[in-house]
Subunit: 414 residues, 2 copies
């Protein structure tokens, strides 16, 4: 019998307790030990809960109980989760978590503490909810060099974009629907501004390339400026707009990493990932493209990933899992302005013929895109690959000739 | 330093040697040990090979060398792979393999021998090539009950069906193209008759449900009878025909398991899995649907999965991985005739009005399907869910009224 504690009894925490309780027998069989919840830490009261005897408001009680070998930190946020996690690891307890914010900001430090104390710090649930992705990247793909990772990592924004694409719903209306359905928070900024996806691609990049990539190094752009016109142009171009977290190692050894909306072709495996689903493409030098798809959030999917990590800790109480990355510095990442990609641009002009001539001169490999019912003064096109600096310079020059760029969205190369 | 042997220097075996050699440093880092190939077993000569000093034709040399801790069996076929694997495990060597035929027919016995000898028998590469699937099912989904697994498990047949669907190519022409491209063997029967997919779903079912399901218990039907008319009707119905291996646990505890062509809706995540790619959907009670997608075959994808297993063995030379199922018996599986599903039927008739009336009477919930340019005497429809026995009985009754069923294809419910 192994005693565990669950810190946080919110959506994920109550799911963890539910999964551990309802699947008790099959989990015991798989872990080769019975797993018993000794404590649930939460500052709130849960009168009448069947787990009433397990609740505590006192973290020290868990910390000082040597019987507790594994702790699930499902509180979210950096504080006090960071302090609690650190102290658990230092006292020889393994910690599993769904807390992407903590892993993305303090992962290297916590992994190092886990290593020094010969315990595990596992976080399968921090990316992709119930989709197995951390373990496949670290284990199954161990014999590969990861060339690139690209994913739809945030279900809320994917729901909004799906409504814009399939139902021609405006961004604000789709956001409101997401909020009404409980897919988006009342303050939706972490989702729609791309920060949630940024933390997740930072975690995947750290894992794949072995150095901690801090989220503030990730160029992050959300979906708030996407319009139905852009959606229509994407469709005319042969694709859809998705919010993509992506990382690729460049020839100079630095990482090209960003979260931003991208036009992806309809034939891409990520184009068909709709609603609140997530899809993550991992391109290995030996495996080629492998795609993982499923629900990236939600109580039970996320909880089941947390519980899988608990089981793994119980099976490895003495033998550490090798999940580790070193600290990283800003020079791991290529400055965004130096990165290069093809781009879709929508602009307004007064003299269309003159604008067309300017565009052909300033951009590579221009392909015009036409949508039905476009205003007379609107013009849209796709370019070839250029650096962001080159794009910006060309856009400034266009502006001098009276052509004003209204939208610029990256075109994906996967 | 850990010494390993590679048995078989065919497509996969040479890939394993290539991956181990080219990624030597990064693999050593991940395995925390340098991995050195001591022997390559093959009865053929490879003059001028850079690995000339490692070749042996004598299995006993590998068996009797106590330095060899891990053996990759990539010979394929049951004999002599079965004998070699058994003797390696008995002598305390871990074995990893891509040999789906051996795992599907002897898995329970070999896993039991591995258990008794405290070594590992791993086979990530046996299903889905480079797609991580064995490990995610056994580990990440440990906190789930697996409700259902459904997959496109054979790249050759998927290539053929994709050509039939997208390019309107007849089966024979698509098969020839697959052979010309090296995707199909000269004797393609194991692929096109469904046996390869049958072995793979048998392995996944054994893993998910804990009892060995032998391939001869899997109702297996290939794609040789699929016509372009069926493809056209599937399109009119709103879907595509795919060869699907599927297993689901019924309420009576038995497994509904088969490999057969199915109509799947265009909105299904498996509908868009094309060409030689594989896609596997795992439906867990907590995670919901999780889909894994990638190249299901090929030298380097498969080799990288074998090497990932080698790394895992090296990391667990003392601690066994828990990958195991018990022996199984025929009564684990529901007889095919008792299983039930909706079905697409194409028939020929002389009196269309009379036929329509008969069909409405004999089948549930009939929806007619219409395709352009159908002959006057052709009729096609989709039914509601019925047992196979009920379908067969209705088809016999139809025949008595002069309506001859020419095609009958299962309709998927995922």
């Amino acid at each position: 019998m192994v005693q565990v504690a669950v810190m946080g009894y919110g959506v994920v925490g109550s799911g963890v307790v539910e999964v551990l309780t309802q699947h008790k027998d099959s989990i015991a069989k798989r872990a080769k030990e019975e797993i018993h919840i000794k404590y649930i830490l939460d500052i709130r009261e849960f009168p009448g809960s069947p787990f009433a005897d397990k609740f505590t408001k006192d973290f020290e009680q868990i910390l000082n109980d040597d019987e507790v070998k594994v702790v699930a930190e499902v509180m979210g946020g950096v504080n006090p989760a960071y302090d609690f996690t650190k102290r658990c690891l230092l006292s020889g307890k393994s910690v599993v978590t769904s807390n992407k914010e903590l892993v993305a900001t303090k992962g290297a430090e916590l992994l190092e503490i886990a290593r020094q104390n010969n315990v595990n710090y596992l976080f399968e649930a921090s990316v992709g909810g119930g989709i197995p992705i951390i373990r496949p990247i670290s284990q199954c793909l161990a014999a590969n060099e990861v060339i690139e990772i690209a994913g739809i990592l945030n279900g809320t924004t994917n729901f909004i974009l799906t409504k814009m694409i399939n139902d021609n719903m405006a961004f604000e209306d789709a956001l409101k629907l997401a909020q009404d359905n409980g897919y988006a928070e009342r303050d939706p900024s972490a989702d729609i501004e791309g920060h949630d996806a940024g933390r997740k691609i930072a975690i995947l990049a750290s894992l794949a390339y072995g150095k901690h990539i801090y989220p503030d190094l990730v160029h992050t752009q959300g979906i708030t400026k996407i319009t139905l016109d852009d959606v229509a142009y994407a469709s005319a171009w042969g694709g859809v707009i998705k919010l993509i977290g992506r990382v690729k190692r460049l020839d100079n050894g630095k990482l090209d990493i960003s979260v931003e909306p991208m036009l992806i072709e309809n034939t891409s495996q990520l184009a068909n990932v709709n609603d609140v689903f997530n899809g993550i493409l991992v391109r290995g030098d030996s495996t080629g493209d492998v795609v993982f798809y499923g629900k990236g959030a939600g109580k039970l999917p996320t909880a089941s990933a947390v519980v899988a990590d608990i089981i793994d800790c119980v099976k490895h109480l003495k033998a550490r899992k090798y999940l580790y990355w070193a600290d990283g510095t800003a020079d791991c990442v290529e400055p965004y302005e130096k990165t290069s990609y093809a781009v879709y641009i929508k602009a307004e002009c007064t003299d269309k013929q003159a604008a067309l001539a300017q565009i052909q001169e300033l951009f590579n490999d221009v392909h015009m895109i036409v949508r039905a019912d476009a205003p007379e003064n609107e013009i849209a096109f796709a370019t070839g690959v250029m650096t962001v600096e080159e794009q910006q310079s060309a856009i400034r020059k266009l502006a001098l000739t009276g052509v004003e760029v209204k939208a610029k969205i990256r075109i994906a190369d996967f």
